[in-house]
C-alpha cells in the first residue's frame, strides 16, 4: 500500500487544500515587440529616396541579367514593368526627329512605336500561353520588354554614327551594330522563355519573338535623319 502510494506522482500533495478566498490577481501582459512592428512598417517611414533607389536597383539588376543572359530565374521571379516602360519610351523618343517628320510617308510616330512594342509583346505572350506555356502573363511581358535593351543601345549608337559618318560606310557600321543587337535580343529572350514551353512547340514560340525583334531592328536600321 505504501509502495503504491509512493509510486504515484504528486503523492504527497493529496492533502493540500486551497482555500477559496485567496484572490488570484496579477498582470497579464503580452510582450509587444515594438521594435519588430517598426520593422514591418518601416517601408512607410523610410525616406522616399530609399524607396526609389530600391526599385532602381532592382531594375538595374535585371538590365545586368539581360546583358549576360544565363538561365537564371531572377528575371522571372520578381517581374516589374518599369524597365520595359523606360526602354520603350527611350526607343520611341530616339526614333523621333527622323526624315519627313511632318509628312505622311515618314518614319514611325511615337504612338506607333509604343503600340508595336506593347501590342507585339501582348500578342506574343498570348500566343505562348495558348500553346501551353507555363509562364505567367506579366512575367513574359517583363522578359520581352527588358530584352529590347540591346536594340535601344543600338539605336543610340546609330544616331551617334549618323551624326558623324554618312554614306555606305556609316550604313555598314549601323547594319553590323543592329544585326548584333538583334541577335543578342532574340538570344536573351529565348534563353528566358523557352524553358516554360513544351518541347515540341519551342519553334512555334520562338518564331514570333524573332519576328518581333526583327521588326524593331528594321525600324532602328531605317531611321534616317532629317537634313
Amino acid at each position: 500500500m505504501a509502495a503504491a502510494e509512493d509510486s504515484r506522482p504528486f503523492a504527497g500533495l493529496s492533502d493540500v487544500s486551497i482555500s477559496e478566498d485567496i484572490p488570484v490577481e496579477g498582470d497579464i501582459s503580452v510582450p509587444v515587440g515594438s521594435s519588430r512592428r517598426d520593422d514591418e512598417l518601416s517601408t512607410l517611414d523610410e525616406p522616399v529616396k530609399e524607396t526609389i533607389l530600391r526599385d532602381l536597383r532592382a531594375v538595374g539588376k535585371k538590365f545586368v541579367h539581360v546583358l549576360y543572359p544565363k538561365r537564371s530565374s531572377a528575371l522571372l521571379r520578381d517581374w516589374d514593368l518599369w524597365g520595359p516602360l523606360l526602354l520603350c519610351v527611350t526607343l520611341a523618343l530616339l526614333l523621333q526627329g527622323g526624315a519627313a517628320d511632318s509628312d505622311n510617308q515618314g518614319g514611325p510616330q511615337f504612338a506607333e512605336v509604343f503600340v508595336i512594342i506593347w501590342f507585339g509583346s501582348i500578342i506574343i505572350t498570348l500566343n505562348s500561353k495558348l500553346l501551353g506555356g507555363t509562364i505567367s502573363f506579366f512575367q513574359s511581358l517583363c522578359v520581352l520588354g527588358y530584352c529590347i535593351m540591346p536594340l535601344t543601345v543600338a539605336m543610340a549608337v546609330c544616331r551617334l554614327v549618323l551624326l558623324g559618318v554618312t554614306g555606305s560606310v556609316g550604313f555598314a557600321v549601323r547594319l553590323a551594330v543592329v544585326t548584333v543587337s538583334f541577335g543578342w535580343s532574340t538570344f536573351a529572350s529565348t534563353a528566358f522563355l523557352t524553358d516554360s514551353q513544351p518541347p515540341n512547340r519551342k519553334a512555334l514560340v520562338v518564331y514570333p519573338v524573332f519576328l518581333f525583334y526583327f521588326v524593331i531592328s528594321w525600324m532602328v536600321l531605317t531611321f534616317s535623319p532629317s537634313q
Partner: protein, 291 residues
Amino acid sequence: MAATNDPFQFQEFEEAGNLLEVNRDATTISIEDDGPEPQKQRNAAGYSPDADNDDPLGTDDTAELLSGQKKNAPFWTFEYYQKFFDIETHHVKERIFGSMMPWPGKNFIHVYLRRNPDLYGPFWICITFVFAIAISGNISNFLVHSGKPNYRYTPEFRKVTIAATAIFSYAWLLPLALWGLLLWRSNKVMSLVSYSFMEIVCAYGYSLSIYVPAVVLWILPYEWLRWCSIVVALCLSGSVLVMTFWPAVRDDHPKIIIAIMSGIVLLNVLLALGCKTYFFSTPEDSHPDGK
C-alpha cells in the same frame, strides 16, 4: 441479330464496326475501345486521297463529343481558343508545305487539317506577309530610286497599316463570306460537303504562305522575275484553293460552281496584283519623290 423474341433474353449484338457499315452516320460506342481512336481511324481511312468519298464532312459534333479533348467551352473563355493551338512544330511545317505544293486530288482540308484546324498558322502567316510586303516594298523602292538625285529615303511606315488591312480582310473576312455562302447553298442542295469556318480560315491562311518567298523575290528590280514569280505563286495558291473547295460545290448548279470558283480565283489574283502595284514601284517610274 436477336435469336429469340424474349425481351429478357440477353441478345448478342454484332461488333460495333459491322453496325457502322449499315449506317455510316451512326454513333457507336463499344465497351472495350478507348474512345476516340476507332472513330478517328475510320474517318481517316475514309479520306484516302484517291477515294471519291461523298461522305458529308460536315460540322457534326459527334466526333467532338466522343473525343475527350475537345470540350465545348464558351467562346469568351481562354480554353475555347486553346483548342485551336493544339498543334506541334512538325504539323505547321507539313501544312505549309502542303499548301505550297498542291497535288491533284489531295484536298488540303482533308489531308492536312484532319479535323484539327488551327489559328496559329493563319495568324502568323498573315503577320509575316504584312511585314514582308512592307519591308520588301521599302527595300525595292530604295533600290529602284537610289540613283536619282532628288530621292530621299523614307521608311514608309504608313504602308504597314494599309498592307495589314488588305491582307487581314482577305484572309479573315473573305472566308467568312465564303462560309456563309457555302452554308446557304448547302441548305438548298442537300448533298453538299460543308466546311467549318475555322477550316476555311485555315485553308486561306496557309494558302498565303507561298506569297512570302515570292514577295521577298520581288525586291530584285527585274520585271521579268517579278512577273514569273507572281504567276507561279498565283497558280500554286489558286490551285490549292480550287482543289480544296471543289468538293464543296461540285454538286451544285453549274452556274453557281463557276461563280464561286471564279470568285475565289479572281480575288486571289486581285490580292497579288494589288500588292505588286501598290508596294513595288517599277524601274520605269520616272517621278522622283519630291521631298
